[in-house]
C-alpha cells in the first residue's frame, strides 16, 4: 500500500461511485418511461384520478414542472429528473392530491422500525448459527441449522406471517395480528401506548426475521467452511493453537468479509423485503402504501416507491463495494 497505490485506490472508488450514479439514473429513466407509456396525459390523469380534489392551478404547475408541452426526450426527461432531484415526486391520485414525497416520508419510520429490528435479530442469530455450523461441518448443529435455513429460505415471509396470525393471534389470542396500535383508548399514558405498540410489533418482526435468517446462516456457513480448508488454518493447527484461538484469530476475521458484504447489501432491501409482510399485518409502512397504491393504480405513488426502493438498493450496493475495498485491499 505504498505511494503509488493511493491513486489507483482513488480511481477505483471513483469508478464505483460513477457506476452507482449511472444505475440510479437508469432507475429514474425507467421510472420516467414507464409513467409515460400509460395512455393519456399524465397531468390529465392526475385530474381524473384525484377527482377535483386538485385545482386547475396545481395541474398547470405540474404540467410546467414536468415540461409536458415540450418533446419527450430530452426535454421532458430532463425536467423529470431535475424535478425528482428537488424532491418533487408529483401528487397522489388516491390520497386526494397529496404530495407523494410527504406520503412516503410519513410511512418510512414504521417500515424502518419493523425491518430494522428484524434485520438486527436475524443478523445476530443467523451469523452466529452459521459460524458454528461452518466451523463444525457435519455436526448436529450444522445438520439441523442447515436444514431449517434451507426450508426458511424457500418460504415466503408473508405466508409465515399469516401462519403466525392464525396460531398466536386467532387461536391462542396472545398477540395482536393487525395494525400498529389497538383501536380505542384502551391504553393510556406513554408507557401503555408503547407497550401496546411493542406487542403489535412482535409478530411482524418475527415473520420478517424468519424470512431473513436463512440466508445469513447459509452465507456465514459457506464463508466459514471455505476458510476452514485454507492453508493458514492448517498452519495454525500445526502451530498448536487451540480451537478457540484459531476461530477468533484466523477464521472469524476472514469469514466476516462476505458476511459484512451481505449485511450491507441487505440493508438496501430492508424496505422491499417488508412489503408483503406489512400487507399481512396492515402495518402502516411503505409496504401497506404499496398495496394501497397497487389496488388504486395510483401510479405517482408507485413511481415514488420504486424510486425509493431503487435508491436504497443502489446506495447499499455502493456502501458494500466501498466497505469491501477497505476490508480486502486486494480488490483495489
Amino acid at each position: 500500500m505504498a505511494g503509488g497505490s493511493g491513486g489507483r485506490a482513488g480511481h477505483h472508488t471513483g469508478r464505483i461511485i460513477f457506476r452507482a450514479a449511472a444505475t440510479l439514473l437508469m432507475v429514474a429513466i425507467l421510472n420516467f418511461l414507464l409513467f409515460r407509456v400509460i395512455p393519456g396525459d399524465p397531468a390529465n390523469m392526475l385530474l381524473a384520478g384525484a377527482r377535483s380534489a386538485i385545482t386547475i392551478h396545481q395541474i398547470e404547475a405540474q404540467r410546467q414542472s414536468w415540461g409536458l408541452d415540450k418533446p419527450l426526450i430530452p426535454n421532458q426527461l430532463f425536467s423529470y429528473v431535475s424535478a425528482t432531484l428537488q424532491g418533487d415526486l408529483g401528487y397522489s391520485f388516491k390520497f386526494r392530491g397529496r404530495r407523494v414525497s410527504d406520503l412516503i416520508l410519513e410511512r418510512i419510520p414504521a417500515t424502518l422500525a419493523l425491518a430494522g429490528l428484524a434485520q438486527l435479530i436475524a443478523i445476530t442469530i443467523g451469523v452466529t448459527l452459521g459460524i458454528i455450523a461452518g466451523w463444525r461441518r457435519g455436526g448436529a448443529v450444522d445438520n439441523i441449522t442447515t436444514g431449517i435455513s434451507l426450508a426458511l429460505y424457500s418460504t415466503p415471509p408473508f405466508w409465515l406471517g399469516m401462519l403466525l396470525v392464525v396460531a398466536f393471534s386467532t387461536m391462542l389470542g396472545w398477540l395482536p395480528g393487525y395494525g400498529a396500535y389497538s383501536a380505542g383508548a384502551a391504553h393510556v399514558g406513554i408507557l401503555g401506548r408503547l407497550s401496546d405498540h411493542a406487542r403489535h410489533l412482535i409478530l411482524p418482526v418475527l415473520a420478517v426475521t424468519l424470512g431473513l435468517i436463512g440466508q445469513y446462516v447459509v452465507v456465514a456457513r459457506a464463508a466459514m467452511s471455505d476458510v476452514v480448508t485454507e492453508d493458514y488454518i492448517v498452519t495454525a493447527r500445526a502451530k498448536g493453537l487451540t480451537n478457540n484461538q484459531m476461530l477468533m484469530r484466523h477464521a472469524f476475521r476472514n469469514a466476516m468479509l462476505p458476511v459484512v458484504t451481505l449485511i450491507t447489501l441487505n440493508l438496501g432491501y430492508v424496505v422491499a423485503g417488508a412489503i408483503t409482510v406489512e400487507s399481512v399485518f396492515a402495518w402502516p409502512g411503505i409496504g401497506s402504501l404499496t398495496v394501497e397504491a397497487l389496488n388504486a393504480r395510483d401510479y405517482p405513488v408507485l413511481q415514488g416507491i420504486f424510486l425509493l426502493l431503487g435508491a436504497s438498493i443502489v446506495f447499499a450496493n455502493l456502501m458494500a463495494d466501498l466497505i469491501y475495498g477497505v476490508l480486502d485491499p486486494r480488490v483495489r
Partner: protein, 310 residues
C-alpha cells in the same frame, strides 16, 4: 464383471447420463425433491382429471370456510369452493409461470453472457453494464412497477398466446428481469472456455462465431446453466407468489399466490381458516425447496472440488 461390460458397451452419452443420474440419486434430499416435483407436475399436467374442472363462485358446492372433511379434504374457501380443487389447478398456473419465465431468463442470460464473454471488448463492456443494472435491482422490485403499468396498457381481457393478459405480463416481466445472475455465470465460464484448444481449433478451421458458440461453447455450459436454472425456477416461484399476493395475479386463473391473496382478503387468518391459507403456501414451500435442493445437488455433482471438502 458383467456390469462393467454393460457399461462399456453403451454409447458414451448414455453412460454419462446413467452415471449422472446415479450421482444425483445418491443425494437423499435430491431424491425427495425429484419425487415432490413429479407429484406436482402430475397435478399441473391433468388438474381436471384429478379434481374436476376449476370451481368458481357459481359452481361452488361447499359451505363457507368449512374445515377439512371427507367431502372437502382441504376444506373450503369463503364462497364454498373446494380448496383441494383450487390448489391442484393452482399448480398448473404457478408451475407454468415459473417454468416459462425461467426459460426466458435462461435464454436471455445465456445469450448475453456468451456474447459478452466470447466477443469481449466493447460488446462485453455494454452488455455487462446492462447486466449490472438487472443484477442490482431485484426482479421483484422491477416487476412491482412494470406489471401494473403493462397490464394497464394491455387491458385485462382477451388472451395472448393462450394466457390471460396479466399472467402473460407476469411471465414476461419475471423472465426479462431475472437473467442477470445467469449471464454473469455464463460469461465467466465462457471466458475460460474461449481459451481452450478445441475453440481455437474450430476457429482455425474457419467455423463461424455463431457456430462456435452454439456447437462448442453451449454444450460445455449446460451443466452450469442447469444447476443455476433450478435456482432461477425457485426464485421465479417466489417472485410470482409475492406479486400475486399483492393482487397482481389473475383471479380467474388463480396461482398459489393468488389463492393466498384471496385468503388474506377473505380474512382467513383472523377467522382461523388455516386450511385455506396453509395448503397453497405449503405447495409453494415444497416446490421451491425441491428446486433449491436439486440445484444444490447438481452444483455438487458438477463441482467435484466441493465434495472433497469435509
Amino acid at each position: 464383471m458383467t456390469n462393467k461390460k454393460a457399461i462399456t458397451r453403451s454409447p458414451p452419452r448414455a453412460r454419462a447420463i446413467k452415471s449422472f443420474l446415479g450421482q444425483l440419486l445418491v443425494h437423499n434430499s435430491a431424491r425427495f425433491g425429484l419425487m415432490a416435483l413429479v407429484v406436482f407436475f402430475a397435478m399441473a399436467a391433468m388438474p381436471a382429471f384429478l379434481v374436476g374442472p376449476l370451481q368458481t363462485a357459481i359452481n361452488a358446492m361447499g359451505d363457507f370456510l368449512a374445515p377439512p372433511s371427507f367431502i372437502n379434504p382441504l376444506g373450503t374457501d369463503e364462497v364454498g369452493r373446494d380448496v383441494l380443487n383450487l390448489v391442484v389447478h393452482g399448480a398448473r398456473t404457478s408451475l407454468i409461470i415459473a417454468l416459462v419465465s425461467t426459460v426466458i431468463s435462461l435464454v436471455v442470460g445465456t445469450t448475453v453472457g456468451m456474447a459478452s464473454g466470447y466477443y469481449g471488448r466493447w460488446v462485453d463492456v455494454w452488455l455487462m453494464r446492462i447486466t449490472d443494472f438487472f443484477f442490482v435491482i431485484p426482479s421483484f422490485v422491477l416487476a412491482l412497477v412494470i406489471t401494473p403499468v403493462a397490464v394497464g396498457v394491455m387491458g385485462r381481457s382477451g388472451d395472448i398466446l393462450g394466457f390471460r393478459p396479466s399472467l402473460f405480463v407476469i411471465i414476461l416481466v419475471i423472465g426479462l428481469t431475472s437473467w442477470a445472475f445467469v449471464a454473469r455465470i455464463v460469461r465467466s465460464q465462457t471466458l475460460t472456455l474461449r481459451e481452450r484448444q478445441f475453440v481455437e481449433r474450430a476457429r482455425v478451421v474457419g467455423t463461424s462465431n455463431i457456430k462456435i458458440m452454439l456447437r462448442h461453447l453451449l454444450p460445455n455450459l449446460v451443466p452450469q446453466i442447469a444447476a443455476n436454472g433450478a435456482l432461477v425456477v425457485a426464485n421465479a416461484i417466489y417472485t410470482e407468489t409475492a406479486l400475486s399476493f399483492l393482487g397482481l395475479g389473475d383471479p380467474l386463473q388463480p396461482s398459489w399466490g393468488t389463492l393466498l391473496s384471496l385468503a388474506q382478503r377473505a380474512g382467513a387468518a383472523s377467522s382461523g381458516a388455516w386450511w385455506y391459507l396453509g395448503a397453497p403456501g405449503l405447495c409453494v414451500v415444497i416446490v421451491s425447496l425441491s428446486f433449491v435442493i436439486i440445484g444444490n445437488a447438481l452444483d455438487d455433482i458438477f463441482n467435484p472440488r466441493r465434495r472433497v471438502i469435509p
